[in-house]
Point group: C2
Chain length 183, copies 2
């Protein structure tokens, strides 16, 4: 049975979680791994409809993602989670659940609020700056920086492909995925 | 990779779902399968806290179980679901999600309300009869009988071990599990 693990991307909206995760996903599938991608917004649709963005509701949402990630990890899946997951305690709880069955690799995708706002084509940050969106992480809601992530990505100073490559190399070094086949 | 499937037990509270599922679980694990048991009450605790027992909330709960079962099935798990799951449409939706990735085997555990009440050590049926519990399936809330389940168990007329044996035989016949090793 292949080793299950959960690769957990945390960071502000617009920091680059999805972009990097997508490159990693393709690479993992290319190495024969079955990937399950739990995206924060998608999970809200399926598991957490009705929850809002208070601390309590955010924690509940992350708890559900962690619970599902843990079960999938147990069955050998390569789980990718991309979710702002702003609270350290909630991330740690997810880690504890996953580590009952496999590895939990925390990837902190860091970028300044200004840079995230600059990239934001939907204009959500502008609305948050104007106070039109309440509880917006990084603007009007806290983001607790991971103290000791397995991978730190400063997305203002590194290309996504390079970040993805570092993640894949870590997974390889921990024997969670097979080495790339070189022709 | 082993074939994932979901064995879905539906029926009234007290019909015998858990008892039979437990025997099946042991048998599957004995044959080397990794089992994930999603119990309706446990899932409510983890994924559906705050949901009640209206049709809408019950459907949402079953939808979440189906979504998780589907993902686990994709990764080769032997998923056991035990949940009253009283509405046919919700069960069918779960089936559709699971069948994207593997087999869905519906097991209808049938017993009369009187028999379920007789077995009920917690006195829930008595309370429901007295109107102290609202929306109690089989008493004050509907149960839509599966029209065409893969397995029909009349638990008033069959021992749990025998029912479990029939389920295991079906899984075997569909090559979802290996045959038992005989010494």
């Amino acid at each position: 049975m292949t080793k299950g693990f959960t690769l957990w991307f945390t960071g502000l909206s617009g920091a680059g979680k999805t972009t990097i995760a997508e490159i990693v996903r393709v690479e993992l599938e290319g190495r024969g791994r079955k990937v399950e991608w739990l995206d924060g917004d998608e999970v809200r649709e399926h598991l957490s409809k009705g929850l809002g963005f208070s601390k309590e509701d955010r924690d509940t949402n992350i708890d559900r993602i962690g619970w599902v990630a843990s079960k999938l990890t147990r069955h050998g899946a390569a789980v990718i989670v991309s979710a702002i997951s702003p609270y350290a305690a909630a991330r740690d709880k997810a880690r504890a659940m996953v580590e009952e069955h496999g590895a939990f690799v925390e990837v902190f995708v860091d970028a300044s609020v200004d840079e995230c706002a600059r990239r934001d084509v939907k204009g959500l940050y502008e609305k948050a700056f104007r106070g039109e969106i309440k509880e917006f992480t990084g603007v009007s809601d806290p983001y607790e920086i991971p103290v000791n992530p397995q991978i730190l990505i400063e997305s203002e100073h590194e290309e996504p492909a390079e970040s993805a490559q570092r993640i894949v190399a870590l997974l390889e070094s921990r024997a969670l995925i097979p080495a790339a086949v070189t022709a």
